[in-house]
Symmetry: C2
Subunit: 190 residues, 2 copies
DNA sequence: TTAATAAGTCTAGCAGCGCTAGATTGTCAC
DNA sequence: GTGACAATCTAGCGCTGCTAGACTTATTAA
């Protein structure tokens, strides 16, 4: 009975269209512009249909966030130049992380700032987020005994840099200098 | 003519009551619970009165944020133990910053996360925020050549730790360990 | 003292939001 | 064809930020 399969396929496609529309609208006009009404209009269905796919608006944000996690890990891994020293690798990852945050601010916001209904540091943490964490850990490990704690701290630093710069609290022009400073601090042998 | 002065005094008092109500409501039920209607009810005036004090809701958030900046600087300065070494001083400030963020999450959110209409790193940066920045710079300076960049990075790290922990992205139980790790990194002589 | 003006405040309402109950339409097995 | 079920829509609730225009009170001028 291929009919049900077709229906499921169509449903999955529609769900993807919702997520795509949310992401597009968010990047274009910010997350406040992403309303259920507008998404419904975008996919050419009535409003209640969206609630057959997602429990509420937050769940839509969460779905976009999940997409983001799927992209960030590979971006970080690919950012390390061939033959880079451990310190250079760390700098590459740091800069790639920040570039990701600023090239896709709405995506980044969904992943790390907005309520998205996603759970972390628990057993149900998405695999893609684990991968992202591991990508960061890989460049921290060579310099730190307790790699998990050090990675959490490294990640926090990057997130803080992204957020403070995004809100205009620190000067965007000095991004590279700050990263260099941080890598200098972390990567020098004690 | 003391009448106008009395009126100005009353207006200032009412403004303070609005800010106080906003802060109280935010700490109790989160910022989404802080609606103009509820604030109006709280100060026992009708809704439009609030718009004689603040341009819009964001401006109210901004006023609360400004209060927060007035408190954070002194908190950081007071946190350094007597006779603390430079490294210990840095750790004191870091822990005090995080405790501030977690004891007054709504206040912290107003200061650093929510749109508040405040401008930073510009000529019109509030004096209290400058003071806060200087309090952080004071403990970073002993270890870094370029104190401004280093302080921005230090601040970003603290902010990132606060935010990731607040959102459950990193384990709250390891807060102290992360801070110790960071101070170890920054405070060792190169 | 009274009339005109100004300041202060309120009522009522707009357009938009997230979300949902209940009606309606379309699709299928029999 | 018909009844059952799923898919979808219309219409609406209670909330939001914000504001126009009415009204009431205070201040000034004649």
């Amino acid at each position: 009975m291929g009919i049900n399969e077709r229906k499921e396929r169509e449903k999955a496609e529609r769900e993807q269209r919702i997520i795509g529309a949310a992401r597009m609208l968010a990047e274009k006009d910010g997350w406040t512009a992403v309303t259920v009404r507008r998404l419904a209009q975008e996919i050419e269905y009535s409003q209640p249909v969206l609630y057959a796919h997602f429990e509420n608006r937050d769940a839509i944000v969460g779905a976009v966030a999940l997409e983001g996690f799927g992209e960030l890990g590979p971006v970080l891994r690919a950012s390390v130049r061939r033959g880079a020293s451990p310190a250079e690798a760390m700098e590459d990852v740091a800069m790639a992380y920040l570039e990701f945050a600023f090239k896709r601010p709405a995506l980044y916001e969904a992943m790390f700032v907005l309520p998205s209904g996603l759970r972390f540091a628990k057993s149900d943490t998405p695999q893609s987020l684990r991968d992202t964490f591991r990508a960061m850990m890989a460049v921290v490990e060579p310099f730190c005994a307790n790699a998990e704690v050090a990675t959490e701290a490294f990640w926090a630093t990057l997130h803080g840099l992204a957020e403070l710069e995004r809100h205009g609290r620190i000067r965007a022009a000095l991004r590279k200098e700050r990263v260099t400073h941080i890598v200098d601090m972390l990567a020098r042998r004690s």
